[in-house]
């Protein structure tokens, strides 16, 4: 492998990571766009999603990486896991919104944010206490198929993961742009008060946003497991912070921004790890967060938020 091939390999890895961060960043950005709240619970909804999809895959009889499926069984199993985890995490997100966040929606100050930290911590510790602290093997039914691109390896699993991510993001884009509820979401993000006066049920919109964002986090949880072949109770924290950076980099509140930001962060992580050292990855990504916030708080695609006086 030449040095260029190594870099190419890291680009492939980076895009795969980035696809996952994009899915996770979408949840942050959508919730922030609608109710201007940084949802720390999102970190661990993702982590719970990863554990739930592991459970679903185990129910189908998969253990470890020994069983490789092809054709319809492979697509069917993945689709089943994807639908189940998205539904579960979506409902978890809705439950969080309904029970603890809705009563605090109009409370000024940091109350709602502190609540999401509390919820995040509860999810984190419930998994730690019930599943244990050791990393868990994640069943993976994908056969090992490798294509050579120049000198780098492109594996089937990466192509599949890109496919799933693109499909979900395309679906989200269609939903937000074309459907009635999606348009209501856009309107609410612009001006909640005006949207309410136009007869939009803001509560429904907020609930939908939490459902979609959390469902995507669940999908990201499944992808994490399939990509790394393990899951653990600690994955939410690091991945969450990176995905949030992606959302800020793309411009918080902007859906295309989250997608692009996610891929950029994935590339920075893999190439930065290659060019510097993996142990400084978090420092690099954190520096990006601060630099973007200071120099260009609206990110790459962010809309200017005019403050209401």
């Amino acid at each position: 492998m030449t040095y260029n091939d190594v870099l190419l390999q890291q680009v492939i890895n980076g895009v795969s990571l980035g696809a996952m961060y994009s899915l996770l960043a979408l949840g942050f950005t959508m919730v922030y766009g609608i109710i201007e709240l940084i949802n720390f619970a999102h970190f661990n909804v993702f982590m719970v999603g990863s554990f739930f999809s592991r459970w679903v895959l185990k129910l189908t009889g998969l253990v470890g990486q020994r069983v490789a499926l092809t054709g319809f069984p492979l697509v069917g199993t993945l689709l089943l896991a994807l639908v189940c985890v998205m539904l579960f995490c979506g409902l978890l997100g809705v439950a969080i919104e309904r029970t603890v966040l809705r009563p605090l929606r109009n409370v000024p100050g940091t109350a709602a944010m502190i609540t999401t930290i509390g919820v995040s911590y509860i999810l984190f510790n419930v998994i730690l206490l019930t599943q244990g602290a050791d990393a868990k093997n994640f069943p993976n039914p994908m056969p090992v198929v490798v294509w050579k691109v120049s000198g780098a390896d492109l594996r089937l699993r990466e192509v599949l993961l890109w496919g799933i991510s693109l499909l979900l993001m395309g679906g989200l884009h269609f939903f937000v742009r074309r459907t009635r509820l999606g348009k209501a979401m856009q309107a609410t993000a612009q001006d909640q008060e005006a949207a309410r006066m136009m007869g939009i049920e803001v509560d429904t919109v907020v609930m939908t946003t939490f459902f979609l964002g959390s469902a995507l986090a669940g999908a990201a949880g499944l992808i994490f497991g399939l990509y790394y072949n393990f899951t653990s109770y600690v994955i939410g924290y690091t991945a969450g912070l990176r995905a949030f950076t992606a959302a800020v980099l793309g411009g918080i509140g902007s859906i295309p921004g989250a997608m692009v930001g996610g891929v950029l962060i994935g590339l920075i992580e893999s190439l930065g790890g290659q060019l510097l050292a993996t142990r400084w990855t978090d420092v690099i990504i954190f520096s990006i967060l601060v630099i973007v916030l200071v120099l260009r708080p609206t990110g790459l695609f962010g809309r200017m938020i005019i403050r209401k006086s």
Binding site: T245, V248, F286, V290
Partner: protein
């Protein structure tokens, strides 16, 4: 609020009623004394070394909570990485006083050695090395200063951002510091931990590994930090912090420099954390990166939330409760659950009972402490946001007599100090606006506006909704920046100055939709407005220097005077929370607050909105008497009868442009004005 207070009163026993007859101040002093004696005697009563050690650790966490309380509780800045400052303090002390850093001996170290800060270590076969031996009593303040510097460094770029961004940046920062600690073995010895940190020595006696000297040192630190916190809370600095917490924009309009005060809060909080770091690491005599991870930051946040944000005694109490929970209660509870499991298992010999029994006997509740933290955060936010000991108490209801106030005519009877009558120079412009324009994207809110507000006059700005009146006010007061054009105050260019400097120059304003500090009392609201006319800094506030005491006394007197100017409308309510006031009274507080900043010119944005006709007349008289006192008044008003009555000059805006200017009579006969107000048809009818 009143219901629960009533229920409590009913539930209060006869003893409670007796206790209530003791004055509140004495009661508080008695409780404090009793608690202090109990805490001081604790190591004598409980001779279990483990308990005393846990108590000493509780002291460390209480001081951390007091530090975070300055940042989160007082200034309202959510810091999720507070443990970083704890770590910085700990490693700074490690560098100053341990075997960690051992540079080679050279001439450079001679002067330090003679001061006793370092020692020369000689060993056979290798060059001499330096051993850092800075005394704890010197090292601890240094750690505080270093942490404060880091607080400023990390705060400076991010404090301009919205509060929620700050939370995520501090979270990241809290994650980075342990990573740096792990990856910088020269300073920190990485994951293995610091090597041989020196314990404090006092009069030749080393604290060593015993817990009780640390316990007493910890108590002393708590006492000192409580003292500092309380002194700051009731000072110019503390009030400014709380104003920023309540409403940043209004705080700026009161002349508060938000950035520097937020940085100050960050620095003070970080200093507390850094000093605690020195204390903790000298007690453990080592430090590893794991000690400063996210869970520590969360635990301290839980203390603040449980105790009550901004409540000094509350956060200390919460620190104690959490420590008790961790070291005693959960262990005991686990023991009981195990016993219960054993009993279930031996009582019923069925499969279900056996599995329940097995599960019960394996439960370890101490492990679930973090889960409990999460539950505390959520529960407190949902059901008791003010915490166990609220920082502010509800004020008793007013008597019927105090509540009733009648509209009085004739304006302010009393002269208000600080507003001196101006010598008549009526033709000079107090405020002059030249070619002022503000665009938002494609919309032009204000276009090429020229306005002159003459000294000691009342000028009214009228116009339909959305005609750019409030935008004009925002542009004058620095809340918004003009796209082009200039603003002058007494011939001085003030265009683009930050809001707090404009207030300092002498422009005060009220807001159309009320921006009061609603969780502060009327009196405190007024005192905040004097920020730019007073000078007490944090140090003077803590030491309560004669000058700061004199200044505080004068500010208090003036506040009461200004409140008194509104007669029995505000005076009986001086110590009530603003959020408990009626709408009209809140409008009065806004005006009183603007007056308190000793302005030359007062900008009133719809001062009579929401007032009944009698109250409106009362306020009109008062505005007129402000001019008699020597003030210049520039107001936006929709009630044309008020405008006609009091304004010397009326300026009419429509679609961001001036369409008419002149006396009431001139303006009312202007066809353009009629069109703007009544529509085209009516104007031509």
């Amino acid at each position: 609020m009143t219901e629960s207070a009533g229920a409590k009163a009913r539930a209060g026993s006869a003893i409670g009623a007796q206790l209530r007859r003791i004055p509140a101040a004495q009661r508080r002093a008695a409780i404090l004394t009793a608690v202090s004696v109990l805490l001081l005697a604790f190591p004598l009563i409980d001779r279990n070394g483990g308990d005393i050690d846990a108590a000493a650790n509780a002291c460390a966490f209480a001081t951390l909570a007091l530090g975070l309380n300055i940042v989160v509780g007082y200034a309202g800045l959510l810091d999720l990485g507070y443990a970083a400052f704890f770590a910085i303090g700990a490693y700074t002390y490690g560098a100053l006083s341990s075997w960690q850093i051992q540079p080679q001996w050279s001439e450079f170290w001679e002067p330090f050695a003679s001061l006793g800060l370092v020692a020369r270590i000689h060993a056979e076969g290798v060059p001499d090395v330096v051993h850092m031996t800075v005394s704890f009593w010197l090292g601890m303040p240094i750690c505080g200063v270093v942490a404060a510097i880091f607080g400023v460094l990390f705060g400076a770029p991010t404090l301009r951002l919205r509060g929620d961004y700050l939370a995520i940046v501090t979270l990241g920062f809290g994650e980075i510091v342990p990573i740096v600690a792990r990856n910088w073995p020269y300073m920190t010895n990485g994951a293995i931990g610091l090597n041989g940190v020196a314990p404090p020595r006092l009069f030749g006696y080393s604290f060593g590994v015993e817990s009780w000297p640390f316990y007493y040192l910890g108590l002393l630190m708590i006492a000192a930090l409580i003292f500092i916190s309380l002194r700051l809370q009731n000072s110019r600095v503390g009030r400014a912090w709380m104003a920023i917490r309540e409403d940043e924009i209004a705080a700026a309009a009161m002349g508060i420099n938000r950035v520097s005060l937020k940085l100050l809060a960050f620095a003070v909080g970080a200093a507390f954390g850094g000093m605690t770091g020195a204390f903790y690491v000298s007690k453990l005599q080592t430090a590893t990166p794991d000690m400063f991870m996210f869970p520590v930051s969360v635990m301290i946040l839980v203390m603040i939330v449980l105790g009550g944000m901004g409540s000094v005694y509350g956060v200390v109490l919460a620190a104690i409760i959490l420590q008790l929970l961790q070291s005693w209660f959960l262990q005991d509870l686990t023991g009981w659950v195990h016993k219960l499991g054993h009993w279930v298992g031996s009582s019923w010999d069925v499969q279900l009972a056996q599995s329940i029994s097995g599960w019960l006997q394996r439960v370890d509740l101490v492990q679930s402490i973090e889960l409990i933290f999460g539950i505390i955060l959520v529960t407190m936010m949902l059901f008791r946001r003010q915490g166990l000991i609220p920082a502010t108490r509800p004020t008793p209801a007013l008597t019927l007599e105090q509540q009733t106030a009648h509209a009085s005519r004739g304006g302010f009877a009393l002269p208000v100090r600080g507003i001196e009558p101006k010598k008549a120079e009526p033709q000079r412009a107090m405020i002059e606006i030249r070619k002022l324009t503000r665009r938002y994207g494609g919309i032009i809110a204000v276009k090429d506006l020229d306005i002159v507000v003459e000294t000691n006059s009342i000028v009214a700005l009228i116009g339909p909704n959305g005609s750019g009146k409030s935008t004009t006010f925002n542009l004058i007061t620095g809340m918004d920046e003009p796209s082009s054009g200039k603003v002058f105050l007494l011939d001085q260019d003030i265009t683009g100055l930050p809001a707090h400097l404009i207030t300092q120059r002498g422009i005060a304003r009220t807001f159309q939709n009320l921006r009061l500090f609603s969780n502060m009392t009327v009196r405190e609201n007024i005192l905040v407005a004097m920020h730019s006319r007073t000078t007490t800094g944090p140090l003077a506030a803590v030491l309560r220097t004669p000058r700061s005491r004199a200044e505080e006394r004068e500010a208090e007197e003036r506040a009461i005077e200004i409140i008194g100017a509104f007669g029995n409308r505000l005076l009986p309510r001086a110590n009530q929370m603003v959020k408990e006031l009626s709408y009209a009274n809140r409008r009065r507080v806004e005006i009183a607050r603007a007056l308190a900043s000793r302005p030359k010119v007062l900008l009133l944005d719809e001062p009579t909105a929401g007032m009944n006709p009698a109250e409106t007349l009362e306020l009109s008289d008062q505005i007129r008497s402000l001019r008699t006192m020597g003030l210049t008044v520039f107001l936006i008003e929709h009630k044309l009868n008020v405008v006609n009555d009091i304004a010397d000059k009326i300026i009419v805006l429509d679609h961001g442009e001036k369409i008419a200017e002149g006396t009431a009579a001139q303006v009312h006969s202007n066809p353009q004005v009629l069109e703007a107000y009544l529509g085209r048809k009516a104007a031509h009818a």
